[in-house]
Every structure is written in C-alpha cells, then in structure tokens.
Amino acid sequence: MARNQEALTRIRVRTRRRKAASTVAISMGVIALALVTVPSVWIVAQVAWKALPHMSWSVITTPGVGLGGGLENEIVGTLMITFGVAVVAGFIGVMSGIYLSQFARGRAAGLLRGASEVLAGIPSIVVGYVGYISMVVTFHWGFSLGAGLITLSAMVVPYIAKTTEVSLGQVPSSYVEGAEALGLKPGQILRTISLRSALPGIATGLIVALAIAVGETAPLLYTAGYSQNLPHVALTHSPLGYLTYAVWTFYNEPSTRAVQLSFDAAFLLIVLVLALIAASRIIVARASRHRETA
C-alpha cells in the first residue's frame, strides 16, 4: 500500500515536471516568434527615423555632387536596372517556367529545375565577379547597364521560373480538358486558359524577383560600376549609379551629409521593396477572392 502510494507520488511529480517543461518550451517558442518579428520592424523603424527628418524633394530631384547633393542619379539608375531585369529576367524566367511545367519530362526536367534552383543559391559576389571578368573585361563592355542587368537577371530568373512553373501547375486540369474538348489548339489553350489563370502567380513571382533585384549590391558593384551623372540610355560603356551603392559608400564617410544620404537611400530602398511586397500581396488576395466566387 505504501509502495503504491510512493509510486503514485512519483508519477504525479513527473507529470507536473513534464507539464512545466512543456509550458517552458511553449513560452520559449513565443519568445522566438517575437524575436523573428523584431529585426524587420526595428530596421524599418530605425531607417525611417534616421532618414525622414532631413528627407526633402531635393534628395529625389538632384543628382549627387561629391559627398552631397541628392540621389536622383541613383534613383533613375535603380529604376532603369529594375526595368531591364523585368524585361530580360521576366521573359527568360516566364518562358523557362512554361517549359518546365508544360513540356519538360523526366530526368531532363529534374536537371533543368535543379540547375535553376541551385543558381539562385550561388553567392551574389561570385556571380558579380564572373559578370565583371566576362562582360566588363573580356567583352570590353566596360562598367555598364548591360553588364549589370544581365548579371542581376542570372540571379533572379530562378524565382520567376519557379513561380511560373508552380502557378501553371496549379491551373485545374478541368480547365485545360474543357478547352481541349472545345477543340482549341494547344497554343490557344496555353495562351488563353493556362497562362491567364496562372497570371496572378506569375506576376507575384516577377514582383518578388524585382524586389530582390532592387536590393542587390554585390552583383552590380563591378558590373554596373558607379557614376554621379544621370544615367545614359546605353547598354554598354556607360556606368551608372543605383541606390544600394549610395548606402554602401556613403555610410562611413566622414561627412554628416553623406551618412544622411546613406540612410535616405536605405529608406527609399525599403519603400520600394515594401511597395513591391504589398503589390504582390494585393494580387494574391484579389486572385484568391476571385477564385472563391467563381
């Protein structure tokens, strides 16, 4: 009887300990959740706090002069590079996604898909170095928009290809079969049925890729170079500035204005990235609402 009592107490103590351990683990998980949300909020708040007090239109509308001036040349440069990436990487990425989801089969599909995914994991400075050696030096393009946007495109094509492939794969097969039954040609089906219903997903992938392109530095430093002049519309032999360069060079200059410009550029980058993320969220939300009502 006494032994039973003893065993029972031991079990009770153990249960209490196990429950306590579980509670501790859960609270640590909650702390971890808080920790995950801290850096993004902190960074955005900090950059806004440092940049907004001295933000003015002149920062956006005047090009850089030495360590002062504004960021117009960098803003125009970033927009040009981003637009170029949207065209080049957008085309290659979407086409690549179409091939992987519609035509590729078996081993070859696995190889191409794998190569694309692995390419996105290559360190950005390695891609930048190769872009520099091949295009800037060997092809004699010099620091230029062309070299910069091709290097950058190589880094973001995988995102676009992946999202295109996934969203095409999610098009209900009944849509395609219905179109087939109505006698549509494969090209028409792809264009009017599959691509149309996959469009929100494809657009989201493209936007995410652009957000990454806007924020890259290492692939551009030795391919696009830098210039304080407003960029020329030329693919080669014409270096151009971009916002990430301003953050990278001005932050440790011994001039208050330069450090301010660094934070201004960081703020503009965050605004651009946030706008792109918001756009992709809106597209996803609208697409899913549409799907529910349909």
Partner: protein, 352 residues
C-alpha cells in the same frame, strides 16, 4: 543479316494510336521556352567554367597551402615581376586564405546557432498553437525580412545594433562568462561592435526567413490525426513536438538548415560592413574583427586590379571558386535529400 531483315519484316506492326492534340509540338513557343529553360544551366556552367579558368594560374602559384596558410601579401609592385611555376606574379606575393575560411565558417555557424532554434520555435508556435491568420501575418514579417536589402542589414548592423551591443551587452557578458571550454571565447576585449558575434546576429536575421518559412510549411503538413493520437496517449505539447512532429519532417528541416547555412556562407555586403574587415588575422574571441571569403572579394577586388600581373584578381577567383563549390554542394545535397523524402520543395534563393 538477311535473316535479321526477314525477322524484322515479319514482326507485327504496332497499331496506330490516336494521339490527342495536346501532345503535338507547339513549335516556336516550345523552342523559345526550351532555350530559356536551358539558360540557368548554361549560366551555372559558364560561372563555374570562367571561375576555373580564372583561378587556374592562382591555383598553380598558391598551391594547396592556400587553404591552410594565413598570409595575405599581394607582393611588391615596385619590383620586377617574377615567374614561378610558369605563373607571372609580383615579387614576394604570398596568399593563404585560412583566416577568411575560418571567418566564413565561424560567422555562419554562429548565425545558424541563433537562427535555427528561433526559426523552429516561431514556426512551431505559429503552425501548432495559433490560427491561420497569425500564420499569414508571420509570413508578412518573413517576406519583409527576406526582402530587406543586405546593405540595409549592414547599415543597421554597423551603425545601430553593433554599437548598442558593444556598449551595453558585450562588456557585461565578457565580464561574467566563466573561463571554461567554449565559453572562454566570450571573454576578453569586446571591440567596437564590428566582429564575429555582431555579424553572426545579422546573418541570423538574414537566414531566418529561409528556415522559418520552410519549417512552418513542413509543420502544417504533419497529419493532425497522428499528433492528436500522441496527445490522447498523454503526451504533453512539447513531447508531441519532439517525438512526433519533428521526426516527421526532420529531413526537410535539415535541408532548410543546410540551405540557410549556404546563404550565410555566401552573404557579402552585410558582412563586409560589420566584420571590421581585417585580412590575415585569426579571431581571438567571439567579438574579434574578421573577414569572410565573400566580403574579401567585394572589398579587395578594386585594389586587386592594381596588380599588373593579374595574380591578385586570379587569387580572388580561387577563393570565389572554393566558396561556390561549397555552396553548390550544400544546395544540391539539401535539395536531393529533401526531394527524396518529402513532397515539400525547398525555397528558391532567399526563401520568399
């Protein structure tokens, strides 16, 4: 020969099967898309090929000692260049990447030690305790974290969190840490906030999106019935997690972790801004300034161009090649592992 032919003609013809139109070739679209789909593979091969071509003379000159020695002397540019092993190089040039290899590995490991438990904890709480609305809210934070440019991480690290930590936190930790085994690394001079630990913290924030978003997706796919069964047997929430949920998706989590590690190893700008950028010195404690392979390439490539013999640029190619091979193997390994055991695909690149 003749009998061969005879046998072939005797074989019954395969019946003609009606093939639906979808199987017919699409012509130009198919060709253009095939070319596009091959482009990433070609890019990958081109990057590898160019790096190997660039690095070859440096490999010949620096030898295998490159990976275990710790020197970084571009040589004397004022003396006549010399030829050794058939490679023209500045006199007294000597390269060894040991310090930047150690720096790369240590900073990434610190990042992993911080990011892995944080990501798993957050993913578990969100997927098991909270509803789908909170899950998508966490998604916003992770997307934002993955989207913040790495120079902005660097800016935050070098001007905000680094000084803050080195002023208010590091000295207290260094003072009270016992002088034993690994903890000894936390003692000693704490520096100005640029160094291993600060970089590790920044890197952790950068790889959390990869690990957290993947593990969140994995956790939500564990069958509810199995977990509820375990709970019905009297397991606590923690026991269900460690004994049922985690083992169910362990391969995926290993894959995501390796992917995060690869990203930390290759991260360039943020580390270049918060490492303190020293060349040729090994860290003495966890606050020491250091350098990584990627950061060394980005910060020294323009000065390497001064070397008229090209050895400095080619040596950077050798370092880049080593970095690329490691990240390549990590990526391929992680993806193969996960593909073999799980239906969840690993994220591409930054994990958005």
């Amino acid at each position: 020969m003749a009998s061969d032919l005879a046998r072939r003609t005797e074989e019954p013809q395969a019946p003609r099967v009606f093939r639906p139109t979808t199987k017919s070739p699409l012509g130009p679209v198919k060709i253009a898309s095939a070319v596009s789909a091959v482009a990433p593979l070609l890019a990958l091969l081109a990057i590898l090929g160019i790096l190997v071509g660039q690095a070859l003379p440096a490999v010949k000159y620096n030898g295998l000692g490159f990976f275990v020695h710790n020197v970084w002397h571009p040589g004397n540019f004022y003396l006549q260049p010399v030829t050794t092993n058939g490679v023209l190089h500045p006199a007294q040039a000597e390269y060894g990447a040991w310090a930047i290899i150690v720096g790369t590995v240590l900073s990434s490991l610190i990042a992993l030690v911080i990011a892995l438990p944080t990501s798993l904890g957050a993913a578990l709480v969100v997927s098991k305790l909270l509803g789908p609305r909170v899950r998508s809210a966490l998604g916003v934070f992770l997307e934002l974290l993955a989207g913040i440019p790495s120079v902005v991480f660097g800016l935050w690290g070098t001007l905000t969190i680094g000084p803050l930590l080195s002023r208010d936190i590091y000295p207290i930790v260094a003072k009270h840490m016992p002088d034993v085994f690994i903890l000894r690394w936390f003692r000693g001079s704490t520096g100005a906030g640029e160094g291993l630990l600060t970089s590790g913290i920044i890197l952790a924030a950068m790889i959390i999106p990869i690990i957290a978003s993947t593990s969140r997706d994995l956790f939500t796919q564990v069958p509810k019935l199995t977990e509820e069964g375990a709970e019905a047997l009297g397991m606590t929430r923690m026991e269900v997690t460690t004994k049922v949920t985690m083992p169910w998706v362990s391969a995926g989590i290993i894959g995501a972790t390796v992917l995060g590690l690869a990203r930390a190893l290759g991260e360039t700008m943020a580390v270049a801004m918060v490492s303190g950028s020293v060349l040729g010195t090994l860290p003495t404690n966890i606050y020491s300034t250091f350098n990584t392979i990627a950061a060394t390439i980005v910060t020294t490539l323009d000065s390497a161009l001064i070397d008229g013999t090209g050895l400095a640029v080619r040596t950077l190619a050798e370092a880049a090649l080593a970095l690329m091979v490691v990240t390549l193997l990590a990526n391929v390994g992680a993806r193969l592992l996960v593909r073999k055991v799980s239906t969840t695909a690993l994220p591409v690149g930054r994990g958005v």
